[in-house]
Amino acid sequence: MITAGIDIGSITSKAVLMKDMKVLGFDVISTGYNSEKSGKEVLNLVLDKCFVNIEETDSIISTGYGRNRLSFAHKKITEITCHAAGAHFQDNKIRSVIDIGGQDSKVIILDENGSVTDFAMNDKCAAGTGRFLEVMARALELDLNDFGDISAKAKKAAHISSLCTVFAESEIISLISAGEKRENIIRGIHESIGTRVGALALRAGLRSPVMMTGGVSRNSGVVRSLESRLGVSINVSSYAQVNGALGAACLGFR
């Protein structure tokens, strides 16, 4: 049996193809303004990559903010359930998932079957999300991918008090003007996210073992900040960015 999971996020669209509960391949592209088009495109990319025809797929499941826009999907499932399923597939001992995506951050608590028992999400605010980091990278004229390594060199974390993305950006510009080192500022940014998402995790009732997913999990600075704040070790998913799509593909087998 072949299934495809497609996760249409606010910034990127992801697709994972599975056969008999084994990953055949995955791909990631920018979402753009047309969810249906990007969903088709990312699916075709992964189908081509795996030499599979669309007619051979038994089930296509969509998830993410654009899930309802994919007319060709057989079923639409929220990313909460999909992220839980994706983490459970990778390691069935996982009991909590911390997912930080482009426009939201969420903490999901799982049971031994990989079913969601509780979850908490950020409210209508970009603080503690990937978008927050993007804005800060722009202000610092750095590539976001370098944030983790640079922050590792910091001697201290610059204090960033604002939780608002726009205000925090102004605060960072002030820190730059005051001559604060970039690595310290970046560490301060990571601490700020750690505080925000850490509170969310505690609210949801975090249980170990913990897996982190979403694009932001590739940022080792954020992971370190969360580990230190929560006092737990965090496994970063090897399918971090495509975990939602992976979970969707897994749910296609049910």
Partner: protein
């Protein structure tokens, strides 16, 4: 839900509301003494006077939001300097007054001679009505109603009654009219009968599938606010209950394939009723009960009807000032919700964190945990605003609601 043909009760409601607002304007224009009140000020006392009418700014603001002009009215207040962080009802009401109510579906409310607020249900309304007091140079009577962490004490009830009597004296003095106890008592009796019939209607939500959806009950609450103390309450809620009973027989139900029975906590998001009910219905979800509608006619700690012995009308209306959720502490709110969840066979709860009503929202995070722990049912929190659509994100809310339904499914499978 929104696709159905307008029900008999729906048609009757429209008729009542239009007539209610027209009568209000007409009587005020002919010289009636006009009072603006907060929703739980006991409006029955006005029936004790020959020529006193009342308007309810909160109800008017909800109507503006329901008709899609909430944001427009809010912006008018914001343009004069009021913060977006204030309650959207207050902003709609204040905004509406900036241009002579030109956009209001009811031409606003007639100019008041007196405003009456209270401080146990809404934290803001005394300040809000103070704006009217200053702008229109009219008196403002504030009722000081004790907040309840436990069932109301006798001394508190007596304190409320003394204030009701003070208010009556003030109206006598300001209007030059004499208060008639018998007419007032009759009005209280009408309200009591209305509450009884309302409860008969809500009780039908126990049926599976339910003929009742909170979206209907939200809307049909309106006469309790604007037509209190009148016989139309009983008549209208009887039409509503009879029609619901008939719908059970004919299968004309709000959610045809009811898979999920949900409970709602907070004020209705008036600007979203149509959209939200339609989307939920498509998902097989019915919000069969809501704390907001269940609390009418009840007192602290239970959503069961508060039984009046039909003796002292002052005592009864004083007790009814303690209906609603906001005047109650967490234990009392929990006790009320617990009873409703058990009675209605609820699968999941939506806690709507309302940006415009912090007194209602303040305990929700703890309630969510307690309800989930006690019943083992999932509960979710969504961000809403009862009248300002700018503070609501539909996809954000529905992602959470979707996850709630999926969690219910997975619990059923396991």
């Amino acid at each position: 839900m929104s696709e159905k043909v307008k029900s008999m009760a729906g048609k009757n409601l429209s008729k009542l509301m239009i007539k209610g607002y027209m009568d209000l304007h007409e009587k005020a224009a002919k010289g009636a003494f006009c009072v603006w009140i907060a929703i739980n000020v006991p409006a029955e006392i006005f029936a004790g006077f020959d020529n006193v009418v009342y308007g309810v700014p909160e109800s008017h603001a909800a109507m503006c939001a329901g008709k899609g002009i909430g944001v427009l009215q809010c912006e008018k207040a914001e343009n004069t300097g009021y913060s977006q962080d204030l309650c959207s009802y207050a902003r709609i009401d204040i905004g509406n007054l900036t241009d002579g109510s030109k956009d209001s579906p009811s031409f606003g409310l007639p100019k008041p001679d007196l405003v009456v607020s209270n401080n146990n249900n809404c934290a803001l309304i005394s300040k809000w009505f103070d704006v009217h007091h200053r702008e229109m140079d009219i008196p403002h009577f504030i009722m000081d109603i004790p907040f309840c962490y436990e069932p109301q004490k006798q001394k508190d009830q007596s304190y409320i009654i003394s204030q009701i009597k003070d208010l009556i004296s003030l109206i006598e003095k300001l209007s030059g009219q004499k208060f008639n106890f018998n007419k007032f008592e009759e009005a209280v009796f009408h309200s009591w009968e209305g509450f009884c019939e309302w409860k008969n209607f809500l009780e039908l939500a126990k049926e599976k599938p339910s003929p009742v959806t909170a979206f209907d009950s939200f809307v049909h609450m309106a006469p309790f606010l604007t037509l209190r103390g009148t016989p139309v309450l009983k008549e209208h809620f009887k039409i509503l209950a009879d029609e619901a009973r008939q719908n059970i027989k004919t299968g004309n139900l709000p959610v045809k394939k009811e898979k999920y029975r949900l409970f709602w906590d907070n004020i209705a998001p008036w600007h979203q009723l149509g959209k939200m009910s339609k989307r939920l219905s498509q998902m097989g979800a019915n919000i069969v009960g809501a704390s907001y509608t269940s609390c009418m006619g009840t007192v602290e700690g239970s959503f069961e009807l508060y039984k009046w012995d039909e003796k002292d009308p002052f005592e009864y209306i004083a007790r009814m000032m303690n209906s609603y959720m906001c005047p109650h502490g967490m234990e009392l709110r929990y006790s009320s919700m617990k009873g409703a969840i058990e009675k209605l066979g609820i699968d999941g709860v939506i806690f709507a964190s309302n940006r415009s009503c912090k007194p209602y929202s303040i305990t929700q995070m703890d309630q969510q945990k307690r309800i989930s722990d006690y019943f083992g049912i999932p509960a979710v929190m969504i961000d809403v605003d009862h009248a300002d659509a700018r503070k609501y994100s539909e996809e954000n809310a529905f992602m959470r609601i979707g996850a709630l339904l999926e969690t219910i499914d997975s619990k059923r499978k396991n």
